[in-house]
Point group: C2
Chain length 254, copies 2
DNA sequence: TGCCGCGATTAACATACGTTAACCGGCCCT
DNA sequence: AGGGCCGGTTAACGTATGTTAATCGCGGCA
């Protein structure tokens, strides 16, 4: 049902850094291994274990989380189609987070060895992957600000803005709507709130005609207003936009 | 007053990934530009601006923070000697966080261009820097868990464990003591608590004979107990320990 | 010597959010 | 068709932490 090349959404992401040459894109596509179909709520990577492959999410949703010994759980990122899972395994021996699917998901496997070789032969590709990792870090830091400084309403609004923007970047939105198959429990473990309060807050957002989320579908009614209550600036999601040379010139050492 | 090579503490860090060859270390040392002495509470990098240099903190302390339009502030990381500031500028056009000194600080400048060239000629060095960035991401994610899931007491205990462990790694501890020049306001903006509550919590930690922090000095009285209340596992700070080959072997695709 | 200002401390009071628990509705399975 | 389960919803009540504001102590400076 999907005739596009395996790496099309990933290329869409990487192009934000630097469009890849046809040859590089080809090489990347060629490095793709078998595609696996995973079921909902399946665990792909366990915190503390290693892996010989990194996955590329082709369809479906997943998340990464850390658990405390007493059962508390913090979701630290969401994976949407086009995201790698978990590129850190290229350089780190063991995974820092447990990665699980939210929905059924198609995942293409890339062997770490193949990928490391590839990167050696195509340094620009290596830099692009590194850039992708940095972007993930920016998102993590933004979540830190979100949980640390924003109220429940702002937090939720911000998360929804972010996911929607990321979905747009990989062409998975339809007007103001996109899929978002999260339960209120998952939202709670993401935003460090209780499910009850997530429920209250979700209703408040709907009451203000900003967004609604139900049946796994996110529907944005007033994006500018939503961004405004969230104090959302998508900058951290588009770290490259203007010409790098222009931006770089400032702040030379006196 | 400091006769060591500029990069000695950085090399200490990078060795955690893969000890560098004498030649690589030499090349890195050689790439170092001028050293600047900064005063306390000076801003080095402004959120949203670019820079042509990355700094290496030789002595002193600094922090990175994001501010919300209404003035709320979240500190997202601390920089201690041996840390780079801000390596992301090698690949991103603008800084995502404002970096400021906490104390007087010596900082060696590396030109981005020089560093990018260097990395091209020494791919292992590039990988080491990338590893360093990944480690920072792990720390950020741990902070997310910290703020999201832990109570005030656990949070503070965890932060102190982390900083102490990092200080150990660059040989800046003396038994159970190390410098830590943070005000309670800064701690509050780090842990997403009020200064009043930081004060209460700090006293509780002291009352339990776990740690004390005053006059810019951190004194750990019972590290095992402190780690235990913090649920601290230093794993995320030492992503490489066992042989990578061993760890990698698990989880091959069936 | 005394003033000033910052950071720490304390107390009284306020609140955003958590907890518990009951109920509801849809979906799956038999 | 019935039961059970999961996710969502609601209400009553509890609490960890925030807010405000006053006080204190100390180092710097005139």
């Amino acid at each position: 049902m999907n005739l596009e090349p395996t790496t099309s959404r990933l290329l869409l992401r990487l192009a934000g850094f630097q469009p890849l040459s046809a040859e590089e894109a080809e090489a990347l596509e060629h490095a793709a291994g078998p595609v696996r179909l995973h079921r909902p709520h399946e665990t792909l990577i366990v915190e503390g274990e290693g892996a010989a492959h990194v996955g590329l999410l082709l369809s479906g949703f997943a998340y990464a989380a850390r658990m405390l010994p007493d059962g508390r759980r913090q979701i630290v990122s969401y994976l949407i189609p086009g995201d790698l899972c978990d590129p850190r395994l290229l350089l780190l021996p063991t995974a820092a987070h447990t990665v699980s699917t939210l929905t059924a998901a198609n995942i293409a496997l890339f062997s770490c060895e193949t990928l490391l070789d590839l990167v050696e032969r195509h340094p620009r590709l290596g830099r692009a992957l590194c850039w992708l990792a940095l972007q993930e870090e920016l998102v993590a830091r933004e979540w830190l600000v979100n949980i640390g400084q924003r109220t429940a309403l702002e937090r939720l609004a911000h998360l929804l803005c972010e996911v929607f923007t990321r979905m747009q970047a990989v062409q998975l939105t339809d007007g103001g709507r996109c899929e978002l198959p999260l339960t209120q429990v998952e939202l709670a473990d993401t935003l460090a709130l209780s499910t009850v309060h997530i429920n209250r807050t979700l209703q408040e957002l709907r009451r203000q005609h900003l967004v609604s989320l139900s049946g796994g579908m996110l529907e944005i009614h007033d994006l500018p207003a939503l961004k405004s209550v969230a104090m959302f600036s998508g900058d951290y999601l588009h770290p490259v936009r203007e010409r790098p040379e222009r931006a770089r010139r400032r702040l030379a050492p006196s």
